[in-house]
């Protein structure tokens, strides 16, 4: 009899593609990808399900592809969630330490976290993640783990991510109808960050920006703490749409042109070329100008990075981003995008691809797979932490100890 295998399936339900990733944790703790399935998404717009039947079919296709590669039958998945309905904010609560003579206990910490997440939300919204940031004991601030410290007042600070109930339900319905159980939802950029951002970057301040087809999702870390997350309803589809309207092309012609010739910097080429597209069956597309194409892309991405910059400035984070930006998601494959982002923010910029897993590297070695890889990494971290805390009974349901290993290690 062989031992039960330690396998997790990540399901990235993106606007452009659905990606299922089956991964196994080996004896020595290494994560090996066993199967990958990707299938173009139908029935999604800007990160949210708009047509359940179409979405179900795409999910089934992607998962069964992955199953065929590894001959493993998927029953449950860890799924990513996004959409412009997502809203995040920081919240805090102060409680008296139950028994000052023995200091802060684990129980006090959970009670404080619990109190900090008790914010009034409109009826159609719910809390998706409660991510502890740090604690204060009396006047000592910025404490990661206050257990055992003496004091009378304990303050917990948490990052709350909320979303529309209906959006999550739609996604659950799709996945269940496709025949799988959802173990957990993870905000997409949090998953992606696990796959591509290094610990040192999280320490010195980094913004992970996942530019997908429908949305741009980002998360800001500093001192290995999640300080800010946001979803903007603008992504690569907007580039394609702009090009199609501006150059009077079909959407798929615009998509082809964008990937094949497009650049985020319009002054890179001098002179102007005429571009050719393969898919010119419908209309002989002549006189397509490279200048015009690049200009459309540059305008849209410039606007996007300005929005990002302004938001970080308004939140008071912009000055402390020591390690700059990490771009990932399919949108980050746009030529010269890092240079443009650097020009606008004045920060160092790199493109992030998944690290820390083995198997099928030649397929998953692309920013497009960051979310899916992050989802399985998250699943394993979560699984080991719950194994450890089993029986202690002091977990707050719904609390996501953010998948950052530090938190998972420390609290379970």
């Amino acid at each position: 009899m062989t031992q039960k295998r330690d396998i997790i399936t990540g399901l990235d339900v993106g606007t452009t593609k659905i990606c299922a990733l089956v991964a196994e944790r080996e004896e020595n703790g290494d994560i090996r990808i066993l199967g990958v399935g990707t299938y173009p998404s139908r029935g999604l717009r800007k990160g949210e399900v708009i047509n359940i039947t179409e979405a179900v079919a795409s999910i089934e296709k992607a998962v069964s592809q992955a199953e065929n590669i590894c001959e493993f039958e998927v029953t449950s998945v860890i799924a990513g969630i996004t959409g412009s309905h997502i809203q995040s904010f920081n919240s805090r609560a102060v409680l008296p330490v139950a028994n000052p003579s023995i200091g802060v206990t684990r129980k006090d910490m959970f009670r404080a976290i619990d109190a900090a997440q008790a914010v009034p939300l409109p009826r159609d919204r719910e809390v998706l993640h409660v991510i502890p940031q740090e604690f204060s004991v009396d006047d000592r601030k910025g404490i990661a783990d206050p257990e055992g410290m003496e004091g009378v007042r304990l303050e917990a600070q948490v990052h709350l991510v909320s979303g529309e109930v209906a959006a999550r339900r739609n996604l659950v319905n799709c996945i269940t109808q496709a025949g799988f159980e959802v173990e957990e939802f993870v905000l997409q950029q949090l998953a992606s960050s696990l796959a591509v951002v290094r610990k040192e970057e999280q320490q010195s301040g980094v913004v992970l920006v996942d530019i997908g087809g429908g949305t741009t999702d980002y998360v800001y870390f500093r001192d290995e703490i999640i300080r800010h997350t946001r979803v903007l309803g603008v992504g690569g589809d907007h580039l394609t749409n702009d090009i199609s309207l501006g150059m009077k092309l079909l959407l798929r012609q615009a998509e082809e042109l964008k990937k094949k010739y497009g650049s985020a910097l319009s002054d890179r080429v001098t002179g102007d070329d005429e571009l050719a597209i393969l898919d010119a069956l419908v209309r002989p597309a002549t006189g397509l100008s490279r200048k015009k194409l690049d200009r459309i892309i540059e305008l849209r991405l410039t606007e996007l990075f300005h929005l990002l910059r302004r938001d970080l400035e308004e939140e008071g984070h912009f000055q402390s981003i020591g390690s700059g930006l990490v771009l990932t998601g399919g949108g980050s494959l746009q030529k010269d995008i890092a240079a443009l982002a650097g020009q606008i923010t004045g920060l160092p910029v790199r493109i992030g691809t998944p690290f820390g897993v083995s198997g099928l590297r030649e397929i998953i070695d692309s920013p497009i797979y960051s979310t899916a890889v992050g989802l399985v990494k998250y699943g394993f971290l979560r699984r080991s932490s719950t194994d450890r805390s089993r029986g202690t009974g002091d977990r707050v349901p719904g609390v996501l100890f953010n998948g950052i290993k530090r938190w998972l290690d420390r609290y379970f």
Binding site: V119, L121, L299
Partner: protein, 380 residues
């Protein structure tokens, strides 16, 4: 909305019309919880500005006369354009109980259409308040002249006018503030003023409002100013009220000359009677004895225990001297050949693959529309 409360024969609708490029932007930036309570309509002769807007109801005027452009200072054409589209406008207004108008009185469209719209509303006996801006001095004599004429026309009444001077709005900012931020500040004040009025006219449970008093407050000569403050913690109400009063940036004499005040409190928590008494006392304490004071309390879960106070004060004496010089005749440009009147499909024109999805809103702009269209950048 509250369809159940609709009574036969009684007009229920409250409309907010954004006029001209800037007015449309302001109308589009109203927070959704206020937007839901009114019908928001954008009016312009300029197709570009309507395309960029996320508003559901759009009226393009004078397709024949001006061929879908702005009017600049061509006031002669405004009348023609307005007449051409008057039937459309009147039918949209027919079931309105109250009309709020917002726009800049320095543009061709704003200064031409707002007075004409007020006339229409007057004929239809609709209670009307116009939120307008007095152009910056640096915009020049001609624009200030347009403003003056438009204002006189509106003041023939009986229409309320809340006139904000842009020079006054930016009077207290630091010299090195970037210009975008200055404009954003002006936008915000106008937006908050409109929201404050919507709240007064629609906040449950009293719902309705004292039109006679509102009209008397907003038909006083002079300018309108706005003060906003949010506060949390103990004594948050009085803290916010005092902060909002000081944000009016008026001296004691000016405060004493205020004709009327609209005070709005927005919070998720509850307010005790004593606290409310104290807050209103704090406001009336600094004003003259015969000031008219209206207030409204809006419940907003999102605010939680925080409280937001908005104070709109009318009848503030104008700063400095009159900007208008002697009348300068408006030059008419040569007539263009008339265009065919066509139905313009705004959605198809600019939303492409997003044609059937909700707009992605950001500060009143619909991000689904190509950046080059919204920014008016030529690609050639």
């Amino acid at each position: 909305m509250n369809k159940s409360a609709q009574t036969e024969g009684v007009k229920q609708k409250i409309a907010l019309w954004g006029v001209g490029s800037w007015g449309i932007r302001i109308a589009g930036s109203i927070q959704s919880e206020y937007q839901q309570r009114v019908e928001v309509v954008g009016v312009d002769s300029d197709v570009q500005s309507l395309i960029c807007s996320s508003l559901v109801h759009k009226i393009i005027i004078g397709e024949k006369t001006v061929r879908s452009r702005g009017l600049r200072r061509d006031t002669g054409k405004v009348e023609k354009a307005f007449r051409e589209s008057e039937a459309k406008i009147k039918s949209k207004l027919a079931d309105c109980r109250a009309l709020l108008i917002v726009g800049g009185l320095g543009g061709g469209v704003g200064s031409g259409v707002i007075p004409a719209l007020c006339n229409c509303a007057r004929e239809l006996k609709i209670f009307t308040i116009a939120f307008v801006t007095h152009p910056f001095k640096f915009e020049g004599k001609k624009k200030n002249l347009l403003f003056q004429k438009a204002r006189e026309e509106i003041e023939k009444g009986p229409v309320g006018l809340a006139c904000f001077s842009l020079d006054r709005l930016v009077g207290r900012i630091e010299d090195d503030t970037p210009h975008e931020e200055v404009f954003r500040h002006c936008d915000r004040i106008l937006k908050e003023a409109v929201e404050c009025m919507i709240s007064y006219l629609t906040a449950p449970p009293q719902r309705g409002g004292d039109y006679a008093l509102l009209e008397s407050i907003f038909s006083s000569p002079g300018e309108t100013v706005m003060g906003i403050r949010e506060a949390a913690g103990p004594n948050h109400l009085i803290t916010a009220v005092k902060g909002a009063l000081s944000a009016l940036s008026l001296n004691a004499t000016e405060l004493g000359m205020i004709k009327g005040v609209l005070l709005q409190l927005e919070t998720g928590g509850s307010i005790s009677f004593r606290r409310l008494e104290q807050a209103i006392g704090a406001v009336s304490g600094v004003l003259s004895e015969d000031v008219d004071l209206l207030y409204t309390i809006d419940k907003s879960k999102e605010k939680g225990e925080k409280i937001m106070v908005r104070i709109m004060a009318a009848g503030v004496p104008e700063e400095g001297e009159n900007a208008a010089g002697q009348a300068i005749p408006v030059t008419l440009t040569a007539d263009r050949p008339p265009a065919k009147q066509t139905e313009i499909n705004f959605k198809r024109l600019a939303r492409g693959m997003f044609v059937n999805t909700d707009p992605t809103l950001f500060e009143g702009e619909d991000m689904d529309i190509p950046t080059f269209v919204r920014k008016g950048v030529s690609l050639e």
